[in-house]
Symmetry: D2
Subunit: 302 residues, 4 copies
Amino acid sequence: MIHEPNNWGRFGPDDQRGTLNLLTPSVVLDALRSATTGEVLNLALPIRGATSSPAPGTVPHLPGRPLPQHFMSVDGGDYAAGARPIGPGLRVADDALLVSHHGTTTHMDALCHMWSGDELYNGHPAARVRSYGATRCGIEHAGGVVARGVLFDVPRHLGLGHLPAEHRVSAGELAAIATPRPGDVAVVRTGWPLVWERSREEYWSGQPGLSAEAGRWLAGHDVAAVACDNAAVGGLDGRGMSQEPVEDDLHLLLLHRHGIHLIEMVWLEELAARGRTDFVFVAAPLRIEGGTGSPLSPLAIL
Amino acid sequence: MIHEPNNWGRFGPDDQRGTLNLLTPSVVLDALRSATTGEVLNLALPIRGATSSPAPGTVPHLPGRPLPQHFMSVDGGDYAAGARPIGPGLRVADDALLVSHHGTTTHMDALCHMWSGDELYNGHPAARVRSYGATRCGIEHAGGVVARGVLFDVPRHLGLGHLPAEHRVSAGELAAIATPRPGDVAVVRTGWPLVWERSREEYWSGQPGLSAEAGRWLAGHDVAAVACDNAAVGGLDGRGMSQEPVEDDLHLLLLHRHGIHLIEMVWLEELAARGRTDFVFVAAPLRIEGGTGSPLSPLAIL
Amino acid sequence: MIHEPNNWGRFGPDDQRGTLNLLTPSVVLDALRSATTGEVLNLALPIRGATSSPAPGTVPHLPGRPLPQHFMSVDGGDYAAGARPIGPGLRVADDALLVSHHGTTTHMDALCHMWSGDELYNGHPAARVRSYGATRCGIEHAGGVVARGVLFDVPRHLGLGHLPAEHRVSAGELAAIATPRPGDVAVVRTGWPLVWERSREEYWSGQPGLSAEAGRWLAGHDVAAVACDNAAVGGLDGRGMSQEPVEDDLHLLLLHRHGIHLIEMVWLEELAARGRTDFVFVAAPLRIEGGTGSPLSPLAIL
Amino acid sequence: MIHEPNNWGRFGPDDQRGTLNLLTPSVVLDALRSATTGEVLNLALPIRGATSSPAPGTVPHLPGRPLPQHFMSVDGGDYAAGARPIGPGLRVADDALLVSHHGTTTHMDALCHMWSGDELYNGHPAARVRSYGATRCGIEHAGGVVARGVLFDVPRHLGLGHLPAEHRVSAGELAAIATPRPGDVAVVRTGWPLVWERSREEYWSGQPGLSAEAGRWLAGHDVAAVACDNAAVGGLDGRGMSQEPVEDDLHLLLLHRHGIHLIEMVWLEELAARGRTDFVFVAAPLRIEGGTGSPLSPLAIL
């Protein structure tokens, strides 16, 4: 993660304690060496406007969440209908996107997204997370990730197409696949998004995810971030809730206590098909001031 | 740019002619060699919700555009007021972002953003750009950029703090600074965002930008994208319009005729202060299906 | 309906052909005489923000529609968390509402909402209904309704709690209950919203509604508007579609060919319990320029 | 105001203490007798989408507020461009509206909109006004207004086209025009919206409004609501703030302490031109659960 890269902070919150800067330059340079073929994959699900398609909602998401809405404010249809060009021969399309990213699309959680008691990560007061934005631990402080990505393809390791809903990945399963170095991004594949195409009811019946033990193992290896193709890094039950006791909740464990950013709902199928364990992982959240996270297009450079 | 990286296309438009794939693997690997120190800078302006701040609108933008709106749907204030945790000891903040990125924040234009006559880039019918999204040349096809970035710091070259509003950068001015290679991203600094802090009226009085000649020079060098810290790559007059004849309009020239993606309203001041001409430029737009562009957090890896 | 009541039209579309003015003063005065007890009922469903409640979606709506979203931009929680008052002792709550009213809440259709071929009601070109709003037949021209309301409580007439999904109300069933006068609002009760509380799946399995014959009967009696507690005035099948041939479609018949405004998803249970057939019906859509309709709070003055 | 008119409350907040029911039936019947000619006027400003017009923002509003945004999700342009009908011969236009009504359009304030200390009107805890809506004193409880309207045309009384920005209407000025009865709606004209057409800068330089003395006089006459054509019932200075001490603030005085709903930014020019002092005033806010107010189309029946 990189610290505030420009001076707009002077207009914003003046106290940036607790922001991260995991992007040690030598680690970045080292990470770039993981690229060997130069192929680049985008690990994001598409963002499909619930208002912009004859088939809304066919992209994996959690039930009950407000889906993205995408609106054109001017488009080719208007010109077909006789709208005047904006200049001689000049036509334009413009649009707007409304997105509540948690549970609806590929995204990165800010450190203010979850907490326990009255304190955010690193002791920041949770009372600073208000209706007009978080003045502590907002996503604008995350900056970006340039790191070695390490793919933990758990179903492949277990000889499965995807993990079953009730599977909780153990530390041993991760350790049998690879050992991350400090500053790496652990990319964990469950294969669960494949279930969506078969049945959204099955997709919503629960989700496989990391066990608390696996979360502790990753934190112990000092990873910079954890990216997963499920909705919550940890597993979910049929009501969309985690069932761990509070000390084992994956969000509290990784995000709240260790300040490890979480990247959720990534799409890993092409990456998994390549059979590569390490690669360059790059992701840069939108600099939404006070945001609880950001929709994201992570890239894997192979 | 990378072509559709995953198989969600099967749910979407089935005809992807005209998408780009400039990410030749060997060029990507070559670009990564431009990193020497490992420092990473985020080149995005902050996204400041017009509803979420006591000082809305203090970020550079074009007048009359709908500013981003950022809403919390649950936050720390609710818990301070007595809201129940969502689980034992578990508290959460969630939010929504509404953004019309053109003219309001750092963004990348899709190939469907501007055109002349009835055809988009590469002959796609403009009539396919409709209220429910563009089924041709939407931003979801852009995929991402991993390229060598070349900084053209024009005001520094001319010994100025920023270019004056009426300045149109010539091909000669660019050529005197650097020569891009095919597949590079040309990053052009005008310094105009510095004017915002002095006076938004002056910022709105016009904008410096590329001349058509400079645009042709960049296209002739086969750049993959052009990123600029002004609002429209080309210059603007006091009414926020370009004044070139249609054959010289920078959007039509670069985006429409050459399929060169444009990245606008980047923040280049820290990058300029480093004095580096080349670096790794990475940017990945949100995969908004049918979108005319995407808000963006470009990274420079030095 | 009342014609443009103020002079803002000078800033807007200059051609208002086709707007209605059914509010003949003598008819209005006559309608007011229908009030006998002075009790007032609000016939609107509540608007429940999908983001603002622990139980989103428990209000009747059609599946797949984007539900209303309600956001607070400042609220009591912020003050509980320590936000400063906006003035000495002065605290404020502010909010935003996003609503796509068709199929999600009580609303009135504009004359531009549905049509056949290339012409709206009264021959206006459908090509004037564009991404930036309808410059013909938008809801801002509807103005308001002050009329005698006539309740057709069809299930009560048939001795049922509510009509079954496949029931199509005949002209004879309406005629057996009451005969509307020119300028009246026909308020048709099916009782279908009661099904929602039992099962949303049953609610979505189809909907009872008017037959084309009944629609023609109402049009023949020159009613000013038709209000119904179902989603589409006409009936729906299990896919949420009407099944009539185009000449019998209720929207085309009433809205498109006769210019009779439709008011949908009204809540009639308290009104039905009063046992009154006629009353004063008042409704005023928001003056959304170029809107395809408006969310609405109709009042019945008994 | 009418109390919860239907049974949806069973899904919502169970404690509705403090809702109003000023709609005494006999008062309603009496109010209806004020109609003499049957002419109906809509007292709302148009809602003009900032994204939907070549001339956004030409409707009176306060500076810095997020303007309404209006989006079409399908429209006539799409069909002109070749979109398929939704059924044989059946075409449709659909849209969405985003509105933050305070300061941007004609609206009614809920009792939770402003307060002092930790209590809303009638002692309800302000901590119940949260990000997911107000569970006390939300606009869904207001129900609707059917009352005698009394027009206080202050500039006409003073022989002026409009009041000057610094004018604060005295109780004596009101008393010289008319004396409201209990349950009436006091409709106060300042004429200030006329200034908008001359100069938005002048409109924003301040606003005339009621003095605290006049507010007390109205409260003493037990009016049901106060409607005004300015933005805040009270006056505003050049920064858009009221300058009264907290005990004289018009919102606290009328809304917070007396539970008198405020209706702001009404358009009164046609009404004033009729020269009628009393008429029927009808207004029904959208039933937005937990809302701080609602956009509104008030009707005057003359």
